[in-house]
Each structure stands twice: as structure tokens, then as C-alpha cells.
């Protein structure tokens, strides 16, 4: 018992306060990251190829690819949500939430005992 207590002193995550501090720090970091979106650093990377058609791209020597949706023309009405405020933050959050929600439902149908295939 004595040894256990001595061990505990060395291990940082045994103390619930430390875990709480970590989680708090992480929440603050997320807040700061969201606020960074006020700085206009973003631009949409969609359809770069069509925008830059005039000058030759080094990375596409064949230039064979034609998007069937737009017949190779860049469509300016195209989605540019990348530049919206908080796009990546919301998308990241929702991805995980949707993932877990779908997986929880999936588990209901797909879960079996460990020896299922040996039976």
C-alpha cells in the first residue's frame, strides 16, 4: 500500500486536478483558435486550376483533365465555404460528433460476442 502511494506521487495524471487543468487549457486553446478566424488569412483553394489557366502550371504537364460538371470552365458561384468564419472548427467538431453518433447506431446492429465466428 505504501508503495502504491509512493508511486502515485510520480504520476502526473493520477491527480484529477491535473486532468482538469489539461481539459481547461484545451478549451481555452479552442477558443483562441476560433478567434483566429477574424484574421483574413483564408482564400478558397477550389478550382485553382481553372483560375490560373492563363499561366502554365508546372504540376500538370498533360493538362488533360476536364471536369465534367463545368466543362473545364471555372464556375465562380462554386462553393467557397472554406473562407466562412469558423468553417474548419465547425466542420471538425461536427465530423467527430456525426462519427460517434453513426458508430453508436452501427454498434447496435453489428455487435456480436467475441466467439461469434467459432460457434
Amino acid at each position: 500500500m505504501n508503495r502504491l502511494r509512493r508511486d502515485k506521487k510520480f504520476h502526473i495524471w493520477d491527480k484529477p486536478e491535473n486532468v482538469q487543468k489539461l481539459i481547461k487549457g484545451f478549451f481555452i486553446l479552442c477558443g483562441v483558435l476560433l478567434l483566429l478566424d477574424f484574421i483574413p488569412f483564408q482564400h478558397s483553394s477550389f478550382g485553382e486550376k481553372y483560375k490560373d489557366k492563363n499561366h502554365n502550371h508546372q504540376y500538370d504537364p498533360g493538362e488533360e483533365f476536364v471536369d465534367s460538371n463545368t466543362n473545364g470552365q471555372y464556375d465562380p458561384s462554386r462553393f467557397d465555404g472554406e473562407t466562412w468564419f469558423g468553417f474548419y472548427s465547425v466542420y471538425g467538431f461536427m465530423s467527430c460528433a456525426v462519427l460517434v453518433a453513426v458508430a453508436t447506431v452501427m454498434r447496435k446492429f453489428l455487435k456480436r460476442e467475441e466467439d461469434y465466428y467459432d460457434r
Partner: protein, 604 residues
């Protein structure tokens, strides 16, 4: 080969054969030096070198050197060095020997310029790798190895059929870009698809990787699927179908990963997810996206093997990899935990780690080309894989509930684990250095890529958006974990496509058993039990009846004998049953037959 160097696969292939003949330190030294010599041998190769010869009237190209092949050869040599260093403590010669030959066959496949050579190494990959599964020597791994072999032999046969038909049609054996049209192209496509774990064919990965030995999985995660992706880039680059197949591969395995308990199976699912990015890159087919796929493979082999090494070390020390039975190992295995975190950061594409500089190229090329739906799917997968492979695996193995201390509430607690052996730690340390090194000094990797592309991963926008994406995904994970909504790790398995053959084939077996054996039983009952006795009976009963009928008139007229008519019949039947007739009767029958023959001849 060309005078100043050997064929790149020979050192590993022949080296593997020598391992069982060496002992102790010499063996360990040899095992570590062989990949280094192999790597040094690659320096003797120049881009554009080819080696051809004729065999049985076929023009074969066993070695064709270009930048893409060299890139793969470099990473395969680094990988096999790490794998062998990780398994250096093993006394099992079979595993070490086949492991080295396995890497040799992957290198051979990479340099193959024709389908005959490719097929040879394709099959050799299957045969040498299965020993990594069997090396665990359990009933489960034996079964899994057999299923693994079935998949890969099927892939080999399809490849053989595909290129044989293609040779017949076009007269060409060269490994080159093929249009996905016609039987031969589809056979080759599916043969590669099986090895590259396309959706539906992916079950061998999640079946065999968790069943293999601790170091076996490390070997397996480096070579087979990567050789397949390389072959795909050689044969079907720019094929649009691949974009959708790849997007599906990035997408569906992460759902399975969330509800999976075995941490090595979680890593296997996340590996299919990563392969998906490469397949998308090949499907887009521009110089930039092919570069992205190649860079991602290079980075992926190193961080994936690092993750499998850390789980291998946990399995080696504690004998388990189930998330429900692990936790708190950071106390006893702090170094392994740290290396696992580096691998996790790399797979999650955190800036400054290797995954970031490679995955970004594929994502960017999808956006540049306007594949926005695919881009959204990939972004979803990039965000969603972080909580699972990036946080969950280290979290459940090394943190979470403490299983190192005795605890009555946790049935599997009290693990007496200790830090991994030195050779394992060294292998993990080198892999970690590569993961961080590639992430920070990315131009070294970019210079090795097959096409000249100017791409900058570290732009302000890219770094900030990536951190936002991952941080908020982790935030959702943290909140779900606090609210206890995140699926618990529980002892269970989940149905996947393998149900169709593991249960379906069993059902088919039972169905055929019932149907075919039923027909068999019925046939036995009717033919053996009824028909044959009836025929046997009729063979003697029928003639006696006919004779009796013919004789009735004779008997009634000639009543020389004192026997009654009924007794006459009985006697005749007895004679017919035993096949014995009076000599005179036999002679009479013979005369009648000869007479008939005589008249027949006469009237002809």
C-alpha cells in the same frame, strides 16, 4: 546487374535464406547489416537503367529504374531495417528469414517492368508474408493465416489471368498505364484491388493484422498494401473510378474503428483510411496528386509501423491489445507511450509531423482539380480519424483507467508490465525521428518524389485551418467522453464484410451438405435399396415367367410327368433362380438361338 550493382531485391531475398544458418550475435549483426547493404546497393542504380532478357520467347524486364521505383525501394529498405531491429530479440528464425524475404519480394515487385516478373514477386509476397501471421502460433492466427492466403492466392490468379489475356490481345507484357476496359484490365484491376484492400476486399487486413505476432504485424503493415498501391499508380493512374473507391476507403473504416475494441484492429481500420487517400491521389492522376500519393506512402509506412510497433511492444509485455483490458501503461512504459504519441500525431497530420506534409498534397490536388465532394469526404475523414487513431489508441492503451494498479472494479487490472526491450525502443526511436524529421525537413522527401512540383505545405492558412480542424474534433471527443456518450471499449467483435464468407460460406456449406448429401441418400435408398434388387430379381424371375408361360401348353399336353402344373412352375423358377437348367433344356435353347441366327443370316 549493370556491372556495378546487384538487382535490388537480391540482397534481401538471398540474405533471408542465410539467416537460419547463423547463430547469436552474428545473426543479429547480419540481420541489421543486410538492409543497410541493400540500401547502399540502391545508390549504384541510375534513373533510366533497365535490364532485359529473353526467356521462352518472352521479353522480360526484371529491373526498370525510375524515381518512383527508387523512392519505394528506399522506404522499403528503411522499413525492413526497423522491422528487423524491432524483432531482433526473436529466436524464431522462420519469422526473421521470411520477413527479410518478404521485404525483398516487395522490392522486386517495385522494380518489375513486366507482368511475368511482377506476378512472380506478387505471389512471393503472399507466401513469405503469411508466416508473419502464423508466427503467433495460436489457433486463431492459423485460421486467419489461411484466410489471408486464400485472398492473396486469388489475387495472384486474377493477376495471372489478367496479364495472360492481355498478352494474347496486345502482345505486350509491360507494366504500363492500362485503360480500364475489357476483361483483362478488370482482372488486373481487381487483383490489385484485393491487395490494396478496396472496400469489400479489405477484410483480410482487419482479420490478419490483429492475429499476427507482435512483430509480424509491423512487417505486414509495411509491404503488401504499399506494393499494391504502387502497382496501381503504375497501371491505373488517372482512372476516375479510383477517386470514388479511395473516397469510400477513407470514409467507412473510421466508423468501425470507433466501435472496435482490439487496438491493433483499430490501427488496421485507420490504415485502410490512409490507403484511401493514396488511392484518391492516384485516381486524380495529375503529377501533383501522384506525388502526394507517393509522399503519403513514404510517411505512412514510417508512422504506421511506429504505431504498430508501440502496440506490438504492449502486446509483447502485457499479452493483450484489447482496449477494454488496457490503460495506465504510461507509468510502466513511458518511452513506448511517448513514441506512440509521436506516431499518433503523425497519422493525424498535426503540423510538424510527417502526415501533415504528405496528406496535404493529396487534399490540395483534389481541391485544385475541383473534386469538391471528394475533398469534403477526405476532410471529414481527416477530422474524424484524429479522435480515434490519434487520441483513442494512446489514450486507451497508456492512459484512461489504470490497469497497472490492483483494482477490484477492473477485472483485468494489475498488469505487471515493464518498458519494452532495448531493440524495440531503438526501432521506435528511429521511426519517431523519421516522423518528425519528414514533418520539419519536408524538402528532403519532396526532392525524392517522382515529379517536379512546387508545393508548400506550411502556409499560415493551411497550418491554422488544420489545427482548428483537429482541435475542434478533439474538443468533440473530449466533450463526448466527459458526457459519457463516447462508445465504451467493450469485449465484442463487429460484423464486417467477412461475415459473407465466414458465415455465408458456412451456410452455403450446410446448404450443399443438405442438398447434395440428401440427393445421395435418396439415390442410395432408391437405386441401391430398390432398383438394383428389383433388377436382380427380374433378371431371373422374368425368363422363368416367360419360359413358364411358353411351357404351359407343353406341360398340359405332355403329362408324362406326374407333377402338377403348379409344381412344374415352382421347379422351373427354382432352376432359373440358381441358374441351373437340365442339360437338354440348355442344348435346346442353344439350338433355337443358332437356328434364329442361321435364318437371320439366310435372309440378309
Amino acid at each position: 546487374m549493370t556491372g556495378d550493382c546487384l538487382h535490388p531485391c537480391l540482397i534481401l531475398l538471398i540474405g533471408g535464406i542465410f539467416i537460419p544458418f547463423l547463430k547469436g550475435r552474428y545473426k543479429q549483426l547480419f540481420v541489421l547489416l543486410a538492409p543497410i547493404f541493400g540500401l547502399a546497393n540502391l545508390w549504384g542504380l541510375n534513373v533510366g537503367d533497365t535490364f532485359t532478357f529473353s526467356m521462352l520467347g518472352l521479353e522480360l524486364t526484371p529491373c526498370r529504374v525510375d524515381k518512383m521505383a527508387l523512392l519505394f525501394a528506399y522506404v522499403f529498405h528503411i522499413a525492413v531495417f526497423l522491422c528487423l531491429l524491432f524483432s531482433l530479440h526473436l529466436k524464431d528464425d522462420v519469422q526473421l528469414s521470411t520477413g527479410m524475404m518478404y521485404a525483398g519480394s516487395a522490392v522486386g515487385a517495385v522494380f518489375a517492368g513486366d507482368f511475368v516478373t511482377l506476378f512472380f514477386f506478387w505471389e512471393l509476397l503472399a507466401v513469405t508474408s503469411v508466416f508473419q501471421v502464423w508466427a503467433r502460433r495460436s489457433k486463431e492466427s492459423f485460421g486467419s493465416g489461411q484466410r489471408y492466403l486464400l485472398f492473396h492466392i486469388l489475387s495472384g490468379l486474377m493477376m495471372l489471368g489478367g496479364f495472360a489475356i492481355r498478352y494474347h490481345e496486345t502482345g505486350s507484357l509491360a507494366v504500363e498505364i492500362i485503360e480500364l476496359k475489357g476483361l483483362s484490365a478488370w482482372l488486373i484491376f481487381l487483383a490489385i484491388g484485393i491487395k490494396a484492400s478496396f472496400p469489400g476486399f479489405h477484410t483480410w487486413v482487419v482479420d490478419s493484422y490483429p492475429a499476427a505476432s507482435p512483430s509480424g504485424t509491423v512487417f505486414m503493415c509495411c509491404f503488401t498494401t504499399k506494393t499494391a498501391i504502387y502497382t496501381l499508380a503504375r497501371t491505373f493512374a488517372g482512372e476516375e473510378l479510383l477517386i470514388w473507391i479511395g473516397a469510400t476507403m477513407t470514409f467507412f473504416p473510421i466508423f468501425y474503428a470507433v466501435i472496435e475494441n482490439d487496438l491493433r484492429r483499430v490501427l488496421s481500420y485507420s490504415m485502410i483510411n490512409q490507403l484511401g487517400y493514396m488511392v484518391v491521389g492516384i485516381g486524380i492522376g495529375t503529377a501533383m496528386s501522384i506525388n502526394g500519393a507517393c509522399a503519403h506512402i513514404f510517411a505512412h509506412i514510417l508512422y504506421k509501423s511506429l504505431l504498430f510497433m508501440s502496440m506490438g511492444a504492449v502486446l509483447y509485455r502485457t499479452g493483450r491489445t484489447l482496449g477494454s483490458d488496457l490503460g495506465g501503461l504510461y507509468k510502466t512504459m513511458p518511452w513506448t507511450a511517448a513514441f506512440c504519441l509521436i506516431g499518433a500525431a503523425s497519422i493525424s497530420a498535426i503540423p510538424l509531423f510527417s502526415g501533415f506534409v504528405s496528406k496535404s498534397i493529396i487534399m490540395s490536388s483534389a481541391a485544385y482539380e475541383g473534386h469538391y465532394l471528394v475533398w469534403f469526404v477526405m476532410l471529414f475523414s481527416a477530422a474524424a480519424v484524429f479522435p480515434k487513431a490519434g487520441i483513442n489508441v494512446p489514450f486507451f492503451a497508456f492512459f484512461h483507467h489504470d490497469t497497472t494498479a490492483p483494482n477490484l472494479r477492473l477485472p483485468m487490472s494489475g498488469i505487471k508490465g515493464k518498458e519494452a526491450p532495448l531493440n524495440m525502443l531503438c526501432a521506435m526511436a528511429i521511426a519517431s525521428i523519421f516522423c518528425i524529421g519528414i514533418g520539419c525537413l519536408y524538402p528532403f522527401l519532396y526532392n525524392l518524389l517522382p515529379n517536379d512540383v512546387d508545393y508548400k505545405p506550411y502556409t499560415v492558412a493551411h497550418v491554422i485551418t488544420q489545427i482548428q480542424l483537429l482541435a475542434f474534433s478533439a474538443l468533440a471527443f473530449a466533450m463526448l467522453q466527459i458526457l459519457k456518450l463516447y462508445p465504451e471499449e467493450i469485449r465484442s467483435i463487429n460484423l464486417d464484410a467477412d461475415w459473407f464468407y465466414r458465415k455465408g460460406f458456412r451456410l452455403a456449406y450446410r446448404l450443399f451438405d443438405w442438398l447434395l448429401n440428401g440427393v445421395n441418400k435418396l439415390a442410395k435408398k432408391l437405386v441401391v435399396g430398390r432398383l438394383v434388387p428389383a433388377m436382380a430379381y427380374s433378371l431371373h424371375a422374368l425368363p422363368s415367367q416367360v419360359i413358364a408361360w411358353l411351357q404351359t401348353a407343353n406341360w398340359s399336353v405332355v403329362s408324362g410327368t406326374n407333377l402338377k402344373l403348379r409344381d412344374q412352375r415352382k421347379k422351373l423358377k427354382k432352376e432359373a433362380t440358381s441358374g441351373v437348367f437340365p442339360v437338354g433344356f440348355g442344348a435346346l435353347a442353344a439350338v433355337v438361338v443358332f437356328g434364329l441366327l442361321f435364318f437371320a443370316r439366310l435372309f440378309q
